[in-house]
């Protein structure tokens, strides 16, 4: 124990004796770790912001979408969730509320006109229960209400981008816009939610009543809808999922042994899938940038070799006083590992700082997050690099012949 403490003290002393050299030596390490941490921090921050958007579904929320396994798709089958399925779920599944359909009519491709101006937007039909957990709410006027739905009113709730794009008045309520050749009265304006990672404008959209959308989609024999619903009791999600599965399988006339042609997604599952995808992306990118750490390791090895030569006489003295090979080996190995770790720590702080700076300068990045595993991994890896690249110089020092080392000038 005393020997280990002494080896540590000697290693620290040697680093302190040449601070500038130590700083330059670990520069490669610092840059490598900083790069890894910055990349991972930004990716994780990015992931966090997307996950946050999924959370708006709520812990009780389930989403039912049509889905075909590849094999079934190759057999030429088509999967869809129909308005009949919506009715079936409403009538035959207990313990759920706010069973709301979403019928996407167009993704950024619907032409919308106001006066002489036109633009492209996304149009979806839905009902009053759709905006969940306060994520979307009307800042002017109202959302689609039950009465709109039952009477197929041609009304529209619009996102704020449309006011700008179509040069609508600041208070567009009561004005008419044209969609799919039909006039819609603007009854509400949604709150601004901003862009999805700076790319997708989430305020460029129009909601119309579900039944209105169904009749507009008349050209399609059976529209494919998405169903959102809330389970009354979050702990009963599994049985409710089983019940929905049973109902839909019967609706779709699936035989036992046939795969489901739909998927029931919960917020938790979506989040988990996304998080794991982002974690592997972080790991892969981190590993690529981590190669630069090897370059840092070579720098440390080089300086340690010089250092051993410089301190040959000192090593001889220590050996004459009774230091064993192991004592010398440990001392130099610790020095290399400490240097490397020092670089790792500085790099960690620097990388986090860079992440924060990028978030500050580029609005597309929501935040910089450094997860614990990254810190553990990068410090572990730096220590390992120090160990691997320190072993050769340390072994060289330990193997020195005491007489020749003492004679060394």
């Amino acid at each position: 124990m005393a020997r280990l403490a002494e080896a540590l003290r000697a290693a620290l002393g040697a680093i302190r004796a040449h601070l500038l050299r130590a700083a330059l030596t670990v520069l490669g390490m610092v840059i490598g770790v900083a790069a890894v941490i910055a990349v991972v921090a930004l990716l994780q921050g990015f992931g966090q912001s997307i996950t946050q958007q999924f959370r708006n579904l709520g812990a009780n929320g389930l989403v039912i979408v049509a889905y075909l396994p590849q094999k079934a798709a190759l057999e030429g089958r088509i999967a869809r969730i129909t308005p009949d399925d919506l009715l079936a779920i409403r009538q035959r599944v207990a313990g759920v509320r706010d069973v709301v359909p979403l019928l996407p009519l167009a993704q950024f491709s619907a032409e919308v006109r106001y006066g002489s101006r036109s633009s492209n937007t996304s149009v979806s039909g839905t009902t009053s229960g759709f905006p969940r957990n306060g994520a979307r709410y009307p800042v002017q006027g109202r959302f689609v209400v039950a009465g709109d739905d039952t009477t197929r009113r041609p009304v529209a709730v619009i996102g704020q981008t449309l006011i700008k794009d179509l040069h609508l008045p600041a208070d567009p309520e009561g004005h008419f816009i044209q969609l799919f050749g039909t006039w819609f009265k603007v009854v509400g304006v949604l709150n601004k939610v901003g862009t999805l990672v700076g790319l997708i404008d989430r305020d460029n959209l129009v909601y119309i009543p579900y039944t209105t959308a169904v009749s507009l989609s008349g050209a399609l024999t059976a529209p494919n809808i998405v169903i959102q619903l809330d389970v009354d009791n979050a702990r009963a999600i599994k049985p409710v999922e089983a019940r929905i599965t049973a109902v839909l399988r019967r609706q779709h006339h699936l035989l036992p042994g046939e795969a489901d042609d739909f998927k029931i997604q919960s917020a938790a599952e979506l989040t988990k899938a996304l998080t794991s995808a982002l974690d592997s992306a972080s790991l892969i990118l981190g590993a690529i940038v981590g190669i630069s750490l090897l370059v840092g390791g070579v720098g440390i090895m080089n300086v340690m070799l010089v250092s051993v030569t410089e301190r040959t006489r000192e090593i001889g003295i220590q050996k004459s006083l009774g230091a064993t090979r192991a004592d010398i080996l440990l001392q130099f190995l610790l020095e290399a590992v400490l240097l490397s770790l020092l670089g790792g720590l500085v790099g960690l702080a620097l990388g986090y700082g860079i992440g924060k700076l990028v978030v500050h300068l580029v609005p597309a990045f929501a935040g910089a997050i450094v997860p614990g595993w990254t810190i553990a991994l990068s410090l572990g890896f730096t220590a390992a690099v120090g160990l691997v690249f320190g072993i050769t110089p340390a072994a060289k020092a330990a193997a020195l012949d005491p007489i020749e080392a003492l004679r060394y000038e």
């Binding site: 124990m1 005393a2 020997r3 403490a5 002494e6 002393g13 040697a14 004796a17 006489r313 000192e314 001889g316 003295i317 220590q318 050996k319 004459s320 006083l321 009774g322 230091a323 064993t324 090979r325 192991a326 004592d327 005491p402 007489i403 003492l406």
Partner: protein, 246 residues
């Protein structure tokens, strides 16, 4: 100490037929050829010889810095001729105290830490190391220079730090290689006086020198030339007490 009593009659170190052969390029050079030598506890011996005589090689073997190519070496009843590196390091740490011509202090460490260094390899705790080293430095008259680095000390003071370092672990033998070689004559006299005091206190001292005047301080002179012992003279005891060793 009971061991010391049991072996009191036996020599402290005994060399029998020690040879050392170096390979210099294509040819073999015999630095030592069949050296037989026995040194008792509390002897004060000088190895004297010109440079290249083999006296330094002999000192390195006695000090367990080097291994003989042939012959046997018993130190304190231990066979050391065929020990491995770790065992030799252990003997250097416990049985030998070195004093070098150029002091060989660690430049980055102060006097106290230089003297504490050999105790590290014995696994002694920091507090005790500090106590022992402070006592050793006080013993050589440097109690007020504990935190001075070698470059803040005079040559004589540096050599006294080195002596304190050699003695702090209470070794069996104090091995001094030209200890006054880098000192002026006044300081050299002080250091030689210190060796005489240490000898009187019961220490076994081996002095390696080319200088007959320095060798004259010892009570026994072993003359070495061409790797062989060519003379072994006793000048009679200069020290007084022998009992201090017990």
């Amino acid at each position: 100490m009971s061991v010391a009593l049991a072996t009191d009659t036996a020599p402290l170190l005994e060399l029998r037929g020690i040879g050392k052969r170096y390979r210099m390029g294509e040819t073999d050079v015999d630095a030592l050829r069949g050296v037989d030598l026995a040194i008792a506890r509390n002897e004060y011996v000088a190895f004297i010889g010109p440079s290249g005589s083999g006296k330094t090689t002999l000192m390195n073997i006695v000090g367990c810095l080097d291994r003989p190519s042939s012959g046997s070496y018993l130190l304190n009843g231990q066979r050391v001729a065929d020990l491995d590196d770790n065992a030799l390091a252990r003997i250097r740490n416990r049985e030998i105290g070195f004093v070098f011509q150029n002091f060989n202090l660690l430049g980055r460490a102060d006097a106290l830490h230089n003297v504490m260094q050999p105790l590290v390899y014995r696994g002694i705790k920091l507090r005790e190391r500090r106590q022992l080293a402070t006592a050793a430095l006080t013993g050589v008259g440097l109690g007020d220079r504990l935190d001075h680095r070698p470059n803040q000390l005079s040559g004589g003071q540096r050599q006294r730090v080195a002596i304190a370092r050699a003695l702090v672990g209470k070794p069996s033998i104090l091995l001094a290689d030209e200890p006054t070689g880098n000192l002026d004559s006044t300081t050299a006299r002080e250091i030689m006086a210190m060796f005489a005091t240490l000898h009187r206190a019961g220490n076994t001292i081996i002095l390696v020198t080319h200088d007959a005047e320095v060798a004259a301080h010892a009570e026994r002179t072993v003359a070495i030339r061409d790797g062989q012992v060519i003379g072994d003279t006793r000048h009679g005891r200069k020290g007084t007490a022998h009992g201090a060793a017990g």
